[in-house]
Symmetry: C2
Subunit: 174 residues, 2 copies
């Protein structure tokens, strides 16, 4: 079971996440002869600014700040489409939002654990789960092609806070 859950929910040097993601993206683009243009790079970077999914219009706002000029929706969606295509990010359908993929390249299908409190999302690649889904599909004569698996609840930090006083303190939010 490959996951970034620990990393997501513990204090860590987050600039390393971002840098790692950007250099993985560079490699992947070189390998597939795709161009990581400034817009695309910025969108990817923004999707790694936190371990929380962002919507297209949040990206638009933040990109405007980052680049100093306003950028229309189609450009944002094009960058999103490009990054999705390379497997560098994922779409979270329940939220209409997007998040960086912690292990692009590796052939995995994804399960997300999304916190209702702080909005964090951890990704899990779970072989047992995928096998089970494949089995269930076979049994139903269903030809499985892709999947969207989204769990909602409380992340480790917010679970703890919920046991105790109340909602997580803003500092704990990540």
């Amino acid at each position: 079971m490959l996951t970034n859950s620990r990393l997501v929910h513990q204090p860590h040097d987050h600039s390393r996440c971002i840098n790692a993601a950007l250099s993985r993206a560079d490699e992947l683009c070189v390998a597939s002869k795709a161009r990581l243009t400034p817009t695309r790079k910025s969108v990817l970077q923004l999707l790694w600014q936190s371990h929380r999914p962002l919507g297209a219009y949040q990206l638009q706002d933040q990109l405007a700040v980052l680049s100093g000029k306003s950028i229309a929706p189609p450009t944002i969606y094009r960058a999103i489409e490009f990054l999705l295509g390379l497997g560098l990010i994922h779409r979270i359908a329940s939220l209409n939002a997007y998040i960086g993929c912690p292990f692009p390249g590796s052939d995995h299908s994804n399960l997300f654990m999304i916190c209702n409190q702080c909005g964090s999302a951890a990704e899990v690649a779970h072989n047992g789960l995928n096998e089970l889904l494949q089995k269930a599909s076979d049994k139903a004569d269903f030809t499985l092609q892709s999947q969207a698996l989204e769990l909602f609840g409380l992340c480790p930090n917010c679970s703890l806070s919920a046991d105790q006083t109340g909602p997580a303190s803003p500092e704990n939010r990540q």
Copy 2:
């Protein structure tokens, strides 16, 4: 593994599906002292006209035909909200669409198998799957509260057609 997959993908007396759904809804509403008003009933019925999810605006169009007058979005969404609340229908996030629940009342969390070709959606209640997801959540210290599980691929009928000539004939669609 409880599922309506067989039923969905075989020719059957579909009016029985609709009638069964409506009378289950009646019972459930009586039990919970909720009112199954004409609008709500019509929406539920429309969501059972096929084993395919429908969007809110498709519902709006069809409701207009059914009732002879045009009905504004808020009314549709209110009916949807009501039916979701009672567990009589489900929302399929990846499609922004809604579908009747074949086993309301039973405490289940749902997996959908959605056909990319004909648009049919079968629901599966899979204990093993839910246990596995619970375990994975526990392992990650994640407090699981709800889930959206959507598989995409080819239903039994369209799988067969794909093996052979091409897309399923319209008559096979259902």
